[in-house]
């Protein structure tokens, strides 16, 4: 099986290690990965600021990039959701609408996709670690990360008191309402720290960046890992890792 990889702009330029971990995990699970270049932005930022015309233009670019029958996998709940929103941008009955519908039906958030593979949720990963999970409201209530991480042998999955509560990022929101955003982030950070975790895991890169940035400023850094990075390292430590070897030959964050 081959998939097309959709890399969020934040991952491309600031958190590339997440993308590498995604490729590493998928390839070790027998999935071929194509990464069409040059990806820019799925249009989420324009869409969320109400700039529908620009969102539509960016959606058209994505429709070209991700044409074809292969599933599209994206290591971000919010970008995956944006791709699924494309049909709303085009008038029903038009060819673009049909293409958008086709794409929306093929989009998977990374954890959802891994969960659909044979053998999942136990993919042979192993890691003795206390992991705090931030579910991220952008995952639309999906429990795929919980299910995958719970199946990692030795991993203790910890969830904060209000697991579904927003971390306060909200993209533009954090810039327009900085104090409110910070208040929410403060609440989230303290609930997470109360778990005394060794690593902080999320399937949403922007939340991860938001929370870990705050913890660093607090002087209480907890290693932030995307679910793909946690699974990749778990595969290194597990049986599967010994058999196949990773793309990167070691933890991607080193």
């Amino acid at each position: 099986m081959r998939i097309t990889l959709m890399i969020p702009c934040l991952v491309e330029d600031c958190l590339p290690e997440i993308g590498l971990a995604v490729v590493s995990v998928l390839e070790r699970l027998g999935v071929g990965v194509d990464h069409p270049r040059v990806q820019t932005c799925c249009g989420q930022m324009a869409w969320k600021t109400g700039d529908v015309a620009r969102a539509r233009a960016l959606a058209l670019r994505s429709l070209e990039l991700f044409a074809g029958p292969a599933p599209v996998v994206c290591p971000s709940g919010s970008c995956a959701k944006m791709l699924r929103t494309y049909p709303e941008l085009f008038a029903p009955g038009t060819p673009d609408h049909a293409r958008a519908l086709d794409l929306a039906g093929r989009v998977f958030e990374f954890c959802e996709f891994v969960l659909s593979l044979p053998g999942a949720p136990d993919i042979g990963a192993e890691w003795n670690v206390r992991a705090a999970l931030h579910r991220s409201c952008q995952m639309d209530g999906s429990d795929a990360p919980q299910r995958l991480l719970s199946a990692v042998r030795g991993l203790t999955l910890l969830e904060p008191e209000r697991p579904e509560r927003c971390c306060g990022f909200g993209g533009l929101f954090s810039l327009q309402f900085p104090a409110v955003s910070e208040s929410l982030l403060e609440d989230k950070a303290h609930e997470l720290l109360a778990l005394d975790p060794e690593i902080l895991v999320s399937a949403e890169p922007s939340c991860l960046m938001n929370i870990s940035g705050y913890l660093a400023r607090l002087g209480r850094p907890v290693r932030p890992l995307h679910a793909a990075q946690a699974l990749d390292h778990g595969l290194d430590l597990g049986l599967q890792g010994a058999l196949t070897g990773a793309l990167t030959g070691g933890p991607t964050w080193r």
Partner: protein, 492 residues
């Protein structure tokens, strides 16, 4: 207190620095959520009942003009005088007129958001009448000279000590100290118990009920089939307001209609559970016309004011009309992390929280409400909570679109989108940024985003790194060179 959503951004930024307010809100919203959660847990076939309530509301919206005409007929037949108000000013005029016609000096009010919306109290007071809110929470915010800060819990932002202090100051001024069997006002300490405070308020309000010439309430549901007005409450003050004074005026926004009593029952099965976590509220009044000749109580004269105030325009909006499904249970407020943090007053309008931001944007002048749909992280807690399945985030986005159409995105947004559309420029721009500023130190000084400075202050920003696509390419080449076997055959 002047209320205007124009200052929403400023007010909300200020509110979250108020530690006491945050603590009170945190406590209150958690309390409501816990009560509601417990009630819903034991609610058999919950989803079915939610769906039925939604269906009843949808049916009402889809046949609104027809149902309102029917309501006018049935209510009139029951002896109620029906008035149509196109906007707030007209509604105020109608109600003030009714009050003057019956020579009212004292007006008692049951809790209602719609009379707040039309700013009725100042109008009646200007006409020389004494107006008393009789819901305990409303009474408290009235004494404080503040607007309500929550749909169902108007004084959610006040602690017990706040209320005691307020009663000391205000009820003392009113000469109501030294109540029988109760400590006098000088003894009313900040630690006064809630029953004690309630008793004080009750005593004060009793006299107003008995003196009142006119009772004004809102409407939870108006039944087109029977011409009845349904009101739910826990304190009994609404029933008193509708039965003690000789004249009762019920004010409804036009979407509050239900086709049949059965539809009303479907709504009532969900509303109290979602609002206060009760199977049914302590009082449910179904009022059909004035007191009949052989009856013991009830108003001698009943009026129903049906208010539009911008709603028929909203009804014509394909996505936004969904906001009119709302039956004001208030659950989305308690679930909203932003509301939990800033409270209701920051919204600068009668309606607060997620549904408030939507309703105010739809009902108030556009230039005053531009910031409201942006004060939201789109986390969807409201949508998950709403028993009627209102998709608040989707509606927020549609409102953002309207704001954007009228004023455009900021410079930075436009630049980002231009670059994202032109991949080569995008790479060049990121490349340039990378060379100049790999740690993103300059970020806070970029024009167009004043919030950036704060963002970077409180969070370590990410650094720009060697891009993923370049790293992948390099690794692929290495892979090919070492010919290390992989479980998969293919490669990009």
């Amino acid at each position: 207190m002047e209320i205007n959503p124009r200052d929403f951004r400023e007010q909300s930024e200020k509110a979250c620095h108020d530690a006491t307010l945050r603590a009170v809100l945190d406590h209150a919203t958690r309390y409501f959520q816990a009560k509601r959660g417990a009630a819903l847990e034991t609610f058999a076939d919950r989803e079915t009942h939610f769906a039925r309530a939604r269906a009843a509301r949808l049916a009402a919206l889809s046949r609104l003009p027809e149902l309102l005409e029917q309501l006018e007929q049935t209510a009139t037949a029951a002896g109620t005088r029906v008035h149509w108000a196109a906007d707030a000013a007209q509604a105020r005029e109608i109600i003030t007129g009714i009050a003057q016609d019956c020579g009212a000096k004292v007006v008692v009010k049951g809790k209602s958001m719609v009379t707040e919306e039309i700013a009725l109290n100042p109008a009646l007071e200007a006409a020389g009448m004494e107006v008393w809110e009789t819901d305990l929470g409303e009474f408290i915010v009235q004494l404080a000279g503040e607007p309500p800060s929550h749909i169902i819990a108007p004084c959610i932002h006040k602690s017990r000590a706040d209320v005691a202090a307020l009663f000391r100051a205000k009820l003392g001024l009113l000469g109501l100290s030294g109540l029988d069997g109760l400590p006098g006002q000088e003894n009313l300490s900040d630690a006064a118990s809630i029953p004690e405070l309630t008793l004080l308020a009750r005593k004060a309000l009793r006299e107003k009920f008995l003196a009142a010439d006119l009772g004004v309430t809102g409407v939870n549901i108006a039944v087109a089939e029977t011409g009845s007005v349904i009101l739910v409450e826990n304190e009994g003050n609404i029933r008193m307001s509708t039965t003690c004074p000789p004249v009762h005026v019920a004010v409804m926004s036009l979407e509050k209609v239900a086709a049949t009593l059965e539809d009303a029952a479907d709504i009532l099965r969900v509303l109290p559970r979602s609002a206060t976590g009760q199977k049914m509220s302590s009082y449910v009044s179904v009022l059909t016309g004035p007191r009949r000749p052989n009856e013991q109580d009830g108003a001698r004269e009943t009026h129903l004011v049906i208010l539009d105030n911008g709603r028929s325009e909203v009804l014509a909006e394909p996505i936004l009309r969904e906001a009119l499904l709302c039956f004001r249970c208030g659950a989305c407020l308690n679930s909203c992390p932003v509301y939990q943090t800033i409270g209701g007053h920051a919204y600068g309008s009668v309606y607060s929280g997620p549904i408030g931001a939507l309703l105010s944007s739809l009902l108030l002048p556009a230039q005053d409400t531009r910031d409201l749909p942006f004060g939201c992280t789109l986390c969807g807690a409201c949508k998950r909570t709403c028993p009627l399945g209102i998709d608040h985030p989707r509606l927020m986005l549609r409102l953002r679109e309207r704001v954007c159409q009228s004023s455009g995105t900021g410079l930075a947004g436009a630049a980002h989108s231009f670059l994202a559309l032109h991949p080569l420029f995008y790479r060049l721009a990121v490349g340039a940024a990378r060379a100049v500023d790999p740690n993103l130190d300059l970020l806070p000084r970029l024009p167009g985003f004043p919030g950036l400075a704060n963002f970077v202050d409180t969070r370590q920003p990410p650094e720009l790194k060697k891009p993923f696509s370049a790293q992948l390419l390099r690794l692929r080449k290495k892979q090919a060179r070492t010919k290390k076997p992989h479980t998969n055959k293919g490669d990009a």
